[in-house]
């Protein structure tokens, strides 16, 4: 982690408002998270439900407010942005969600779905945009004639490729992946992980890969961050975390099921 940081999170605290006037202050969902994601690197964030990983992710995406702390995106105070500035700055982050059938509108064609972010940033429709969409699809391993289809006509893997293409439409430098393979079969998961690795290489992307499956993310991340009950219990280079986990919990996750063939 010697290069410049694309995302810098400092002492981030997220707390959901307790209901009722005299309710005690609730335990924070994220209790002071700090980490840095360097350019062209992949950081895996691992945790189970209730670990705070989803809250952390949603706060970074500005979907929920934070109590305190800072998030800097390419050096800029990301939490200070508001209104249209925020909306237009969102193009720097591409997002892929877990279930493509839910994250792609059932009513729109693939072409409409992929043109949406482009139109939102003021690009004009027409043949040039169609060409761009075809190129995006091809980058994600899909033929151009998918444009007129709808998500439900695609297989899970194909639909997830469309979701990745949408995330790439505005050429973001940072990709945030929220359990991108958890809803897919193992053989398809392998295809998607390969695709993500290729895209990272060809487009110089940085990635934040959030998942409950340590083994999946350990495969392609440069560093790993393990969360439990709002705390970061482990943060370090992937090789090191896998070889010498410091926390029992990490050990537990690593020892489940098949013991990897990895050295």
């Amino acid at each position: 982690m010697n290069s410049t940081a694309i995302l810098e999170v400092r002492d981030l605290v997220i707390r959901y408002r307790a209901r009722g006037l005299f309710a005690p202050r609730s335990r924070p969902a994220v209790n002071g998270a700090s980490f840095t994601l360097a350019e062209r690197e992949t950081l895996g964030i691992v945790g189970e439900s209730g670990s705070g990983k989803t809250s952390l992710l949603r706060a970074i995406l500005r979907l929920i407010p934070v109590e305190s702390g800072s998030v800097r995106l390419e050096g800029q105070d990301w939490l200070a942005l508001k209104g249209d500035t925020l909306r237009l700055t969102r193009q720097r982050i591409g997002v892929v969600a877990q279930n493509p059938y839910l994250s792609l509108s059932p009513r729109l064609t693939i072409a409409e779905i992929l043109s949406e972010p482009l139109l939102a940033q003021g690009e004009r429709g027409g043949p040039a945009m169609r060409k761009k969409i075809a190129a995006l699809l091809s980058d994600c391993g899909l033929p151009a004639d998918f444009m007129e289809r709808r998500a439900r006509e695609l297989s899970g893997g194909q639909a997830q490729r469309v979701a990745i293409a949408r995330a790439l439409a505005l050429e973001p430098k940072l990709m945030i992946l929220d359990e991108p393979t958890s809803a897919l079969d193992v053989s398809v998961q392998a295809q998607i992980l390969n695709l993500l690795a290729d895209l990272k290489e060809s487009r110089g992307l940085s990635m934040l890969f959030v998942t409950h499956n340590l083994k999946v993310v350990a495969h392609l991340s440069d560093s790993l961050l393990v969360m439990r009950r709002g705390d970061i219990v482990e943060f370090g280079a992937t090789e090191q975390v896998v070889r010498e986990p410091r926390h029992d919990y990490t050990r537990e996750l690593l020892s489940f099921g098949l013991i990897g063939a990895r050295e």
């Binding site: 909306r87 969102r90 982050i93 994250s103 509108s105 009513r107 729109l108 939102a120």
Partner: protein
Amino acid sequence: MTRLVHRLGWPGTIAFGVVLVFVLLAVLAPWIAPYPGQGAGAPNVAAKLLPPSADYWLGTDHLGRDVLSRVIYGARVSMTNGILIVLFALLIGLPIGLAAGYFGGWIDEALMRGTDVFLAFPALLLAVLMAAALGPGFLNSIIAVAVTWWPWYARLARAEVLVLRGQPYVEAARLAGVSHPRIIIRHILPATGRPLTVQAALDVGPALLTAAALSFLGLGILPPTADWGQMVDAGRKFFPARWWYSAMPGLTIFIVALAFSILGDALRDRKGGANRASA
């Protein structure tokens, strides 16, 4: 036709047919009614209060007008009434519900508390008060009923939006930088279309009944224009001896209201094409 039966089922298809027939009657009244002049209101005192016969299939009223012609002409007013009330109510309720549900927070609080005020009154009472305040007349009676109606659409739209707002594909649009108005129009509105069209179809019947009730109370459309509710009221004085005068328009109201209600149910249960309603 077979596709219609497949999508709506037999009861729905029949109800759809009934509604269609009444729409046609309303549109083509001057050509279909046996006595167009009487349907429009011209008296024919020579033939006062005759029972149903070959000349007057549904009998005549106290001014000797053919009840069948009056019922057919009444379809123009009553059907328009029912449909316009629902449309007006949608026009007010839908934007309010969309805004309340989508933006949440104080906007939601303000809009929904305002909505609750309207719901606090019994609907018919509110309609009567409104109609009395506005004075009788076609448009006024529609407005009077629509005012009691829209809060339901606001609530329904809001409930739908609350679910949709959290849908990953709506969130994905937000994260792609799509603006709020565009998200509402492109993602939220189409998806609320289906439940709202169902509710609207179900409501045409009751709206028509309420409008008929206002006419019955003399707060709706003024004679000589034919209106089913007002006909029932006028015929009441001659009931039961001259039963056909109020029974025929009454039965018509019943059939049409029932048809809309069955059609609404069929639309709700219809098979396939989730995006059809929004297309």
